[in-house]
Amino acid sequence: MTIDLGSLVVFSVQVALGGVLLTLPVGVALGFWMARTNRRGKSIVETLATLPLVLPPTVVGLVLLELFGRNRPLGRFLYESFGLSVAFTWRAVVVASAVVAFPLLVRTVRASFEDIDPRLEAIARTLGKGPFSVFVTVSLPLASRGILAGFILAFSRALGEFGATIMVAGNIPGETQTLSLAIFQLVQLGRDSEAYRLAAVTVLVALVAIWLAERLARRPRSRHT
């Protein structure tokens, strides 16, 4: 097995980023809903949204395999209707990243919406704006830092994803292999020094992500309350 470091890094970042971006709108909407609603169904949704965080990733992978396998209902539907194979392709890597990272995104987003005084939204309504307009002009900007933080956290988790990915996407070099899967394989092959090199690269990618996030989040804003 030869390692093409460049494409490995690009692929890993791409699938992690893709997975989180894919779930971002749903995560923000769900986080907002959970921060504001008192409905009865809330705790069920809450539990479902947390499940991937507490289950062993291999179990999550198994469930995903059950859903997206070529002979399973969802997998067959996607293949027959759109010609999309998911299991054991790069798409499965994206799906696995998205699912394991989702709870972290939702929890952080929810906390940042809960930090906003709901009366600010109420005042905006009295000034003539409908619920959606208030969400876009008041809630979203005020939660933007929290959403960014949730995004970074979810991205980091997706980047390090291993268990679910190997179950549903396998470890196919050049196709579904990410940095963490490659490290695992190298160690198994006894090529420890190469594994360490990849580990160092992974650390570097994570650091760059955090640095970028800090830069984006650094907005001049004075607080005196």
Partner: protein, 354 residues
């Protein structure tokens, strides 16, 4: 006419109010926790009453019978909460512009900025404003949305006396300039007397008194509100003459009560509010001679309220004036209704409020 007829269960009791408001500015007065803020929220559409009706003229905003409940954005009601609630992620200018609707009835931002004198803070972040500035911006933001009714929740609360002196004139100016009906929540006697045409007293969710502010606040339902804290007589005056060499400015109330107040170089005809604390006024049975005080005026005792720890004597001069005395002083002077008396006020006991 604004009709509010609602029943709304709260934590400790039920808000059960039936009111029709005809005066330009009505005060909602009462102890904290009486349900005043909840009532405002119900009118603004931020809380849904269990049943009842809320309408402005023939426009139904809420009716449990007709199953109508307009969302807040369609009620056209400007709400200024106690803590301002300016949007922290917008400049003052963007806060003001937030409610711009365009079309008829809206008030231009420039006009509001001028009336409230907030031009110098437009580019600032709301978190850097003083309490008084913040309240003015919140009031301005509500005005710009062109409301049919203004709800002000304790516009002067949480501000110290110094700031109070500065915000009241703006409320009066808004009242005169835009003529928007308003419901003002307050537990400040001074504020109610100065700003409002009618006062409604709310206690544990029910209306327990209603009428002209002066009458209501001294009436039985007020629960001794006059005795809480320092009571300040507030008089609306006009400058009639300047005597700088004497260090005084002569002013007169619409009723014809003439006062000498500390000099300030305003042109004749300038309107001002002056305050005299009830405990800063001396009361005498005879016309005193050889006094240094410049303000001595005759009147007759109208009423004496002895229900509190001190006695509050209302004296009819061209304007009713409240004097705070001990119960003992009332007895020694033999005061009762219609006793002729003289009031003595030092020039420097009269301070300008705006």
């Amino acid at each position: 006419m604004i009709v509010v007829n609602v029943r709304l269960p709260l934590d400790a009791f039920e808000l059960d109010v039936s009111l029709d408001l005809n005066e330009p500015v009505t005060a909602l007065f009462g102890p904290s926790g009486a349900g005043k803020t909840s009532l405002l929220e119900a009118i603004a559409g931020l809380r849904r009453p269990a049943e009842g009706e809320i309408r402005i003229d023939d426009d139904v905003l809420f009716s449990s019978q007709q199953n109508i409940s307009l969302p807040p954005e369609r009620r056209g009601i400007g709400y200024v909460p106690q803590d301002s609630l300016l949007f922290p992620h917008m400049s003052v200018h963007r806060n003001l512009r937030y409610g711009v609707r365009g079309g008829d009835g809206s008030i231009p931002v420039d006009s509001v900025v001028e009336a409230l004198e907030i031009g110098h803070v437009l580019e600032r972040n709301p978190t850097t404003l003083s309490g008084g500035e913040r309240q003015r911006v919140a009031l301005g933001r509500a005005l710009v949305s062109g409301p049919r009714l203004l709800l002000l929740d304790e516009p002067l609360a949480a501000l110290d006396v110094g700031l109070k002196d500065r915000i009241l004139p703006y409320l009066r100016r808004v009242r005169e300039q835009y003529g928007i009906p308003a419901l003002v929540v307050s537990h400040d006697v001074f504020e109610v007397l100065t700003l409002c045409d009618e006062a409604v007293i709310l206690e544990r969710g029910r209306v327990v008194g209603r009428g002209a502010p002066r009458a209501v606040l001294t009436g039985p339902g007020a629960g001794g509100e006059l005795f809480r804290g320092r009571f300040e007589n507030v008089l609306d005056v006009r400058v009639v003459a300047q005597e700088p060499e004497e260090g005084i400015t002569r002013v007169e109330t619409p009723g014809g009560l003439a006062l000498a107040i500390p000099h300030r170089p305003d042109p004749e005809g300038t309107r001002a509010l002056v305050g005299i604390f009830a405990e800063d006024i001396l009361l005498a049975r005879q016309n005193p001679a050889g006094l240094s005080a410049r303000n001595v005026f005759a009147g007759t005792v109208e009423s004496i309220d002895e229900s509190g720890g001190v006695a509050m004597v209302c004296v009819a001069t061209p304007e009713p004036v409240y004097v705070k005395l001990t119960h003992r002083a009332v007895a020694q002077l033999g005061l009762e209704a219609r006793t002729p008396v003289h009031l003595i006020v030092k020039t420097h006991s009269i301070h300008r409020l705006g």
